[in-house]
Amino acid sequence: MSAATLDKAPPKAKPRLSPLERSERRLGFILLAPAFLLLAVVVLYPIIELLTTSVRFYHLAQPWMGTPFIGLEHYARALSDERFWESTLNTVLYIVITVPGAVIVGLGLALLANQPFSIKWPVRLGLLLPWALPLVFAGLIFRWFFEYNQGLVNNALGFFGIGPIPWLTNPTFAFAATCIAIVWKTSSFVALVLLAGLQTIPKSLYEAAEIDGAGKWQQFVEITLPMLRPAIVVALIFRTITAIQTFDIPYAMTNGGPGHSTETLAMYIHKTTIDFLDLGYGSALAVLMFIVSVIATTGYLRHTRRDPRKA
């Protein structure tokens, strides 16, 4: 090839696909199409619908008003809505308390379940059961546990001469009780994720550490925790996303009370749309919650990109 023809060659020529590669690519798109279509129907469409509803007046109790476009009015209303801020603060508190709580309890359960028991199934069943229970059911169980007169907790505390404590009628205690229920319910899922992570750690690492002079605690800090980091991050992401949406357990235990002390953002959205029939404002609140979810998830995902086993 002469220098002249080289000069003429376009600097960034796309590599030409062979007919085989082209037909493979086409097949790939065809195979992906059903999944994309399904996603569009169940994810994309509702999000667009939510966004459009949030910028309209849409109140089912005032059908004569129609659904006029009102811009960002709902968002402005949310920012000055005290109940919005209160429920957001509660949600943040639920996240800050129950996510680490579930990870710590879950880690303990996972370590326990990872012990060489001769019969494994009761341990595994005990681990799975809280996870398999419906959320509302768990909420009802704990409402009964924390009941003032006949509740299990006050009964037990009575043996030690403590109480009775107004678990579900005092704002602080009610918040604590719902947190305990949420941690109990969610730590089993965290434990399952962490147990899977624990089982990928080679036994020889612990043996090497033992010969190197590390005690049990040092083995935990030097090997288990760092090796478990990817699993912990996955558990944190899942747990945080579900914590942002906390609804069922406080709903079943306290219905957001006393006052609004255990009301979460998800519950406020539910009340706004289902109880007060204000779909427009409810949608705006839901969009705000969605934005918080996306920010939290992106933050975590950035972390996961770093694999501790590599550089």
Binding site: E207, R229, K310
Partner: protein
């Protein structure tokens, strides 16, 4: 440095006995290799020395001190694992320094020792990398670095080369031997590869089914195997075996299919224990050679030819027996040929057909 004494050691997992009373004393500074087929108990024995498995019965002493009840970290040993067991989230330097750090070594000294160990193993340029970025051979070196940095009393190696390719294995074998010469530390090394055992060991302990078969120098194991198992396990290609009836005068050996091989007068002395009985005859491939065509030569059918460059291994049919012979590189044989063969029975080994015990000294 220290001797390792294994006294009547037994091990059972539940009701399964895996080691049935083994006595081995590895002298101070000795390189001992435990070798045997899979499931012979060699790794279990090593792990008992390390303290990673409990001892069911008997005693293990390191440097004269019984260590049965001591945890691994108090035995002053270092171990190199088959899968290297490097901490994947730590750098090479952190991996090597881990044992020192756990023992509270001051930082400047720790850095000096890590630097020394990495220089010896030529991994100084890898100190900041993580194990995931290293090749198999480099990981092996790091694992050895982690072992030597502490200068323990005893090194334990659990099949350290089995994950490497043939060329690297040969290189690392030399490296390990050099390390032993440099430090003179007692080494107990487990392998299933008899070539590793032969090339590395001062003494080889050959195990089978949880029993010690022989504990002796490589040359002794090769030249004077105590039984048929050791004879067949040590040596590559393995020893040839044939069951044969020997007449009282030891003039001929019958190898089946009407083939009877003449025994030279000088070989008669060697075959004396076989006079008038049935024995298992063992003959190393180097003692099955191309025949000169004299009266001692017997015709053999060529079944398979394996050229190795420096020599050719030829699988020969002699009566009912199949013998491998070492032939010159340019043997010019092909399957189906018939060729005269000389068997040097003066070097033969004789074994009892039932017990497998050696009859020759």
């Amino acid at each position: 440095m220290a001797a390792v004494e294994i006294r009547s050691v037994r091990k059972s997992f539940g009701r399964v006995d895996v080691i049935h009373g083994i006595d081995i004393t590895v002298d101070d500074g000795e390189f001992a290799v435990l070798v045997g087929p899979s499931g012979c108990g060699k790794s279990t024995l090593l792990r008992m020395i390390a303290g990673l498995e409990s001892v069911s019965d008997g005693e293990i002493a390191i440097g004269g001190k019984v260590v049965n009840d001591l945890p691994p970290r108090e035995r002053d040993i270092a171990m190199v694992f088959q899968d290297y067991a490097l901490y994947p989230h730590k750098t090479v330097a952190e991996n090597i320094a881990f044992g020192l750090r756990m023992r509270g070594t001051p930082k400047p000294e720790m850095e000096k020792l890590v630097r020394e160990a990495s220089d010896i193993l030529q991994i100084g340029h890898l100190l900041e990398r993580k194990p995931g970025q290293l090749s198999g051979g480099q990981r092996q070196r790091v694992a050895m670095g982690r072992a030597i940095v502490r200068r323990p009393k005893v090194f334990l190696f659990d099949e350290p080369l089995s994950n490497l390719d043939a060329q690297l294995r040969a290189e690392m074998r030399i490296e390990i031997k050099k390390l032993h010469q440099r430090f003179g530390t007692t080494i107990v090394y487990v392998t299933h590869d008899q070539i590793e055992a032969m090339t590395l060991a001062d003494r080889i302990a050959i195990l089978k089914g949880g029993y010690l078969q022989q504990f002796a120098s490589p040359n002794t194991c090769y030249a004077r195997p105590v039984n048929r198992f050791v004879a067949g396990f040590i040596g590559s290609p393995p020893m040839n075996f044939a069951e044969t009836d020997v007449d009282a005068g030891i003039s001929r050996l019958s190898l089946g299919q009407g083939l009877s091989v003449p025994v030279s007068p000088e070989a008669r002395q060697r075959l004396q224990p076989a006079a008038g009985r049935r024995v298992v005859l063992g003959l190393r491939p180097e003692h099955v050679k191309p025949g000169a065509g004299g009266p001692s030569s017997v015709p053999a059918g060529v079944e398979l030819v394996e050229p190795l460059g420096s020599e050719t291994l030829v699988l020969l049919r002699l009566g009912d027996a199949l013998f491998t012979g070492r032939f010159p590189a340019e043997a010019g044989l092909k399957p189906g040929d018939t060729t005269p063969v000389d068997c040097a029975f003066a070097n033969a080994h004789l074994f009892d057909p039932q017990s497998g015990q050696a009859l020759t000294a």
